[in-house]
């Protein structure tokens, strides 16, 4: 009963709808704000402001693809950021501060995973609770203080992680290219391979599809979920380090703004909110769209107050779009309401 064309072009090219939307918006902003969007500097700025968001959203792509959610990562950004800042500044530990910050993120993520997989509390509840706990912990330990990292750009840590390797270049925009974009691209490519081609990525998608099926085909669901949340903790710690170094400052609520924007980026990108399907390419374009809206609207002459409104609207529209694109029954019912029948493969599924 399956029909001869099982793969439409939308399915074959990963993230195609979102790439088109991205191109259209870019074109729009080039038209409304040519002085900003036809110059290279806005793009080099994106390369230094978006990496933390992209890392978080890539982690969430795995989490949401597995049918779970993580609300804890803003607290990991606070906690790991604090661990890094205090060890780096007060104790002068340099690279060891990086290792400790990553370890703290991995530990928090691992604990989340154990609570979710072994005790069996839904991830929404677990990470809501742990996010209060670790954010509170960061505030208690730091005494609510911020840590200004003055002179940090002299250190090798700063040079390697968020440095400007071509700072001596003749062309100004090349001089502004930041290291964090390089590291983020490296992590993104690696995790794209993991999701698409590694056993772990396949298990994550099967778990998102159905925990039951995953168990009977022999996937160790508990262990993969623990790995999943540990990965999220690691990526949140990476984001925390980049943020703290790039801002040359640590403050307790530096992660707060990322919760909804990261989730929105993932869903705009085309990862299914019901789990089972995930796309890292879509997520990255989703991040660029979320980031671009802010710069684009302001540069086009609208006030900053419009930013959230438009982000919310695009978020909503994209979720509805994917819902209908994904689920043949819903699409068929929707089209039938407007008098289209016998349209594509949706019909037989109902």
């Amino acid at each position: 009963m399956a029909q001869p064309n099982p793969n439409s072009i939308v399915q074959r090219l990963e993230g195609l709808p979102i790439i088109i939307v991205f191109a259209l918006m870019l074109g729009l902003f080039m038209y409304t704000a040519p002085t900003v969007f036809l110059q290279p500097f806005i793009y080099t700025t994106f390369l230094s402001t978006l990496p933390p968001l992209i890392l978080l959203a890539i982690g969430l792509t795995f989490v949401i693809g597995a049918g779970e959610i993580d609300l804890c990562f803003p607290a990991i950004i606070a906690f790991s950021g604090f661990v890094f800042a205090v060890l780096f500044k007060e104790y002068n530990l340099g690279w060891f501060a990086i290792v400790a910050a990553l370890a703290s993120g991995i530990l928090v993520g691992f604990i989340n995973g154990v609570i979710i997989a072994k005790i069996g509390i839904p991830s929404f509840m677990t990470t809501l609770a742990t996010q209060f706990f670790w954010a509170g912990m960061a505030t208690v330990l730091s005494g609510g203080k911020s840590y200004a990292l003055r002179g940090v750009e002299e250190s090798s840590v700063w040079q390697v992680i968020v440095g400007r390797p071509f700072a001596d270049s003749e062309t100004i925009w090349i001089g502004q290219l930041p290291m964090e974009a390089f590291w983020t691209a490296l992590i993104a490519i690696f995790l794209w391979f993991v999701l698409k081609r590694h056993r772990f990525g396949e298990h994550i998608l099967f778990i998102g599809d159905s925990n039951d099926v995953s168990r009977v085909v022999g996937i160790n669901v508990d262990r993969e979920k623990i790995k999943l949340f540990t990965l999220m903790g690691f990526l949140a710690a990476c984001a925390a380090i980049m943020l703290t170094l790039e801002n040359k400052n640590f403050f307790g609520n530096q992660g707060q703004g990322y919760l909804l924007t990261a989730i929105a980026s993932v869903l705009i990108g085309g990862t299914s909110i019901f789990g089972g399907r995930a796309t890292i390419i879509g997520t990255i374009f989703g991040c660029f769209i979320i980031g671009m809206i802010e710069a684009g609207l302001v540069a086009s002459g609208l006030t900053g107050a419009w930013v959230r409104t438009v982000q919310g609207l695009i978020f909503l529209v994209s979720i509805i779009f994917y819902l209908y694109a994904d689920e043949p029954q819903r699409r068929a019912a929707f089209l039938a309401r407007f008098g289209f029948t016998g349209f594509g493969r949706g019909k037989q599924a109902g």
Binding site: M1, A2, Q3, P4, N5, P6, N7, F193, R197, H198, R199, F200, E202, H203, L205, F206, D209, S210, D212, V213, S214, R215, V216, V217, G218, I219, N220, S272, G276, R277, P328, R345, A349
Partner: protein, 265 residues
């Protein structure tokens, strides 16, 4: 990963009496006593029908037998050698050539067929990255040669969600055959299938026997299971209450018997 653990129970060792044997297996879910003192043995080339009302414990029994969940107490033997329940898992059951086809839980809906064929035992390099080309080639061969889906528009890239119920059963059964199982467990494979597709499944069950394998066949439709099984085990409220040879009892008598069983308390 389980290679060393199973080295002492080689699937090829052929001096065994029963492919699976359970002794005094109990299973509790909290206060619910799902399996009570279940002992049974499955011979190496027989079709055993497992029948009983909803909630009789049929599904729990096969889950324990195939490593999806451990028993609360009791012993499990595979090819006459005891397996440690704590160490028994689906993966291990696969290694021991035991395959299960579930009514609706064998395939993941949103994933392509080729991933469904290999999930849980992917062909990978030593870092765990999947050899997609090889998996697809083998999946394509299974699709055409084992299952016989030729020219019906189903490819290895089709998503399971787009297949009919019969096609899904075909895929799941083809997968079990490909892995050369010695014991194939079928959990209500004909539920929700059309008449023609039921015939195909019944034929497949016969083929399992003809090829020298064993089969446990759970079925609601007594006529189907009566037709192919060598013996029938009747399960009621977690007990195996009796064993019946189909040739000793007609389908009608069997139906009467089961209804009576329900009215006893």
């Amino acid at each position: 990963m389980t290679a060393t653990a199973t080295a002492d129970i080689e699937p090829t060792a052929d001096a065994f009496q029963s492919i699976v044997r359970l002794e005094h297996v109990e299973k509790f879910f909290g206060a619910v006593h799902a399996l009570r003192d279940v002992s049974l043995a499955i011979g190496r080339n027989e079709i055993v029908g497992l029948i009983g009302d909803n909630g009789a414990g049929k599904s729990t029994l096969i889950k324990v037998m195939t490593g999806v969940m451990g028993p609360t107490s009791g012993r499990i033997f595979v090819r006459d050698k005891e397996v440690d329940p704590a160490d028994y898992s689906v993966r291990k059951a696969h290694d021991l050539s035991i395959e299960t086809v579930y009514q609706d839980r064998s395939l993941a809906d949103k994933q392509p067929l080729w991933r469904n064929f290999f999930v849980g035992r992917q062909i990978t390099n030593r870092f765990g990255f999947i050899d997609i080309k090889k998996e697809k080639a083998i999946a394509d061969q299974i699709l055409k040669d084992v299952i016989g889906f030729r020219g019906v528009g189903i490819t290895v890239d089709s998503t399971v969600g787009n297949l009919s119920g019969g096609e899904r059963q075909g895929i799941a059964i083809g997968r079990a055959m490909h892995y050369n199982a010695d014991l194939i467990v079928l959990d209500e494979p004909t539920a929700a299938l059309g008449v023609a597709e039921v015939r195909k499944v019944i034929d497949f069950v016969r083929r399992i026997k003809a090829s020298g394998r064993a089969c446990i066949y759970i079925e609601h439709n007594l006529a189907h299971v009566h037709e192919v099984a060598d013996r029938l085990l009747v399960l009621d409220r977690g007990h195996i209450v009796t064993e019946i040879k189909p040739k000793d009892m007609t389908v009608n008598a069997l139906t009467e018997y089961l209804i009576e069983l329900q009215h006893k308390t």
